[in-house]
């Protein structure tokens, strides 16, 4: 059995206007998990709780099988984090960042860092201010990887980047998990990126987990049924998760594609992408 890189059980955090509600999911070693959801759904809150940046109200977070608070320092030595385009002041240079990080991570590998800088074409002595947004994100990833972490956590790292840079970053992540020991947890609302590289998808909405599943299973499970607006009543409400009406008819997100094909042979049932699943759920309250 594969060991888990991350196991979250019933994680809860209360705010005045928002509650992260009994969130549970598991990220097996050697895989990439995408955390999807709208802005404010609870993705960042979840990531912050994993890193103990904010205090949980209840629940449990285990990283590499260890409690994330009891073994905080030990765990963090093996985690790489990308929170924003750059967490360093814009007057610092990549070379200075290396000097700083060398004194924070005992395992900091200067030559590995230099090789990332070379690979990403990041000039060592240029100040951060002069780098493009794409370069800043690449720098943050290079920094996060250079102490050879086993778990990489990225919060909306690919947002606002052009497709070429995004692809470069996604390739980088795929390369990172070539080692079976390494795992990635990334949050994003760019579902296309996640669909490309993730092994697991956790969909979070209004602080609750909608679904946490292997991506292939998820895509196999859900389907989109197309019918005329008037035919919607022919479909049992328990069979679908949401629908959207347009001038041309009605699209219905079916929870079980195979069953939908058998039960409703008169309609066309197509594959659903991650974006479809997210959008249909977002309209759920309209039902």
């Amino acid at each position: 059995m594969k060991e888990d890189a991350l196991k979250i059980t019933d994680l809860t955090k209360n705010y005045k206007s928002f509650k992260l509600d009994n969130v549970s999911f598991t990220l097996p070693k050697g895989s990439i998990m995408g955390l999807i959801g709208e802005n404010g759904a609870g993705k960042s809150t979840t990531l912050k709780l994993i890193l103990n940046l904010i205090k949980k109200d209840s629940g449990k977070v285990a990283v590499f099988g260890l409690d994330n608070i009891e073994n905080e320092k030990k765990i963090k030595k093996q985690i790489g984090v990308v929170l924003d385009e750059s967490s360093f002041h814009y007057t610092l240079t990549p070379l200075q960042i290396s000097a700083v990080m060398k004194n924070i991570f005992a395992d900091w590998d200067e030559s590995l860092y230099a090789s990332y800088l070379a690979k990403f074409k990041l000039p060592e002595k240029k100040i951060i201010k002069e780098l493009s947004r794409g370069m800043k994100v690449k720098l943050s990833i290079a920094v996060a990887l250079s102490h050879r972490p086993k778990l990489l956590i990225l919060d909306e790292a690919t947002s606002g980047l052009d497709p070429v840079v995004r692809n470069e970053i996604l390739d980088m992540l795929l390369e990172f998990i070539q080692s079976e020991e390494n795992s990635v947890l990334l949050s994003s609302h760019i579902t296309g990126d996640l669909e490309k590289i993730c092994d697991y998808i956790t969909f979070i909405r209004n602080g609750k987990i909608v679904v946490s599943e292997a991506k292939d299973l998820l895509l196999e499970q859900y389907g989109i049924l197309k019918c005329a607006s008037g035919d919607l009543s022919a479909i049992k409400p328990e069979d679908y998760a949401g629908y959207r009406k347009s001038r041309f008819g009605c699209e219905v997100l079916m929870c079980n594609k195979a069953r939908a094909k058998t039960n409703y042979p008169d309609f066309v049932v197509d594959d659903a992408g991650l974006e479809d699943i997210m959008l249909f759920y977002a309209r759920e309250e309209n039902i």
Binding site: L51, N52, L53, I54, K55, E72, K73, K74, K76, K77, I79, V81, L83, D84, S86, S87, F88, H89, Y90, T91, L92, Q96, A99, V100, M101, K102, N103, I104, F105
Partner: protein, 206 residues
């Protein structure tokens, strides 16, 4: 923790041009007014206050939350700021003595003891101020603390003015030597209390 300090020193060095310019100005001012107090005081104050500025730099980059994701404890993060303040304050103090002595040589004055006393007093004031402001920054954030900073400066100033008016400076002159003798102990107690308060606030911060 060494890494966190190094980060702040890199940022400090970025400002060196400004410091050279400002201190050059105060040196000239000291010269014109024939009083080394300007340069001796300002060099310590500028240096010590950088510890406060470093919080603004961190805010701007979102470094604080990033630092908490690294394998350093919150206590170490707080300690790094106190250490930064202490190191800068003493470095400023050394420079203050050097500047004061250069000033004396140029002006043909003597009085190394007086210079040492002036520099020491400024260090004490700087550190005392730091002890007050750091817990406030942790509690209220950098922006609000800016306003509190004025109040902190104002209270002792008004107190001294009030005291000297009341007693024509007589009892004040009596207290000062005693205050000076006790100052190292007072300062240590203050530093410890302030550090513990900051840690306490920061541990609970989200």
């Amino acid at each position: 923790m060494k890494g966190l300090l190094l980060k702040d020193f890199f940022l400090f060095i970025k400002n060196i041009k400004f410091y050279v310019f400002a201190l050059g100005f105060f040196f000239v001012l000291s010269f014109l007014y024939n009083d080394s107090g300007f340069i001796s005081g300002m060099v310590v104050l500028y240096f010590t206050l950088f510890a406060v500025s470093s919080f603004s730099y961190d805010d701007l980059a979102g470094f604080d939350i990033y630092a908490r994701s690294l394998p350093v404890t919150r206590k170490e993060i707080v300690a790094s700021k106190y250490l930064l303040g202490l190191i800068l304050s003493f470095s400023g103090g050394v420079l203050s003595i050097v500047f004061g002595l250069i000033f004396n040589v140029l002006k043909g004055k003597s009085g190394i003891l007086k210079q040492l006393l002036v520099s020491y007093t400024v260090i004490c004031i700087g550190l005392f101020f730091l002890c007050l402001i750091l817990p406030l920054i942790y509690k209220f954030g950098t922006e609000k603390s800016r306003y509190l900073m004025f109040i902190i400066f104002l209270i002792p100033t008004l107190l001294f003015v009030g005291l000297s008016k009341m007693n024509a400076g007589h009892s004040l002159a009596e207290i000062l030597p005693l205050l000076l003798k006790l100052s190292p102990a007072i300062l240590v107690v203050f530093l410890v209390l302030s550090f513990l308060a900051s840690c306490n606030i920061y541990e609970r911060k989200e």
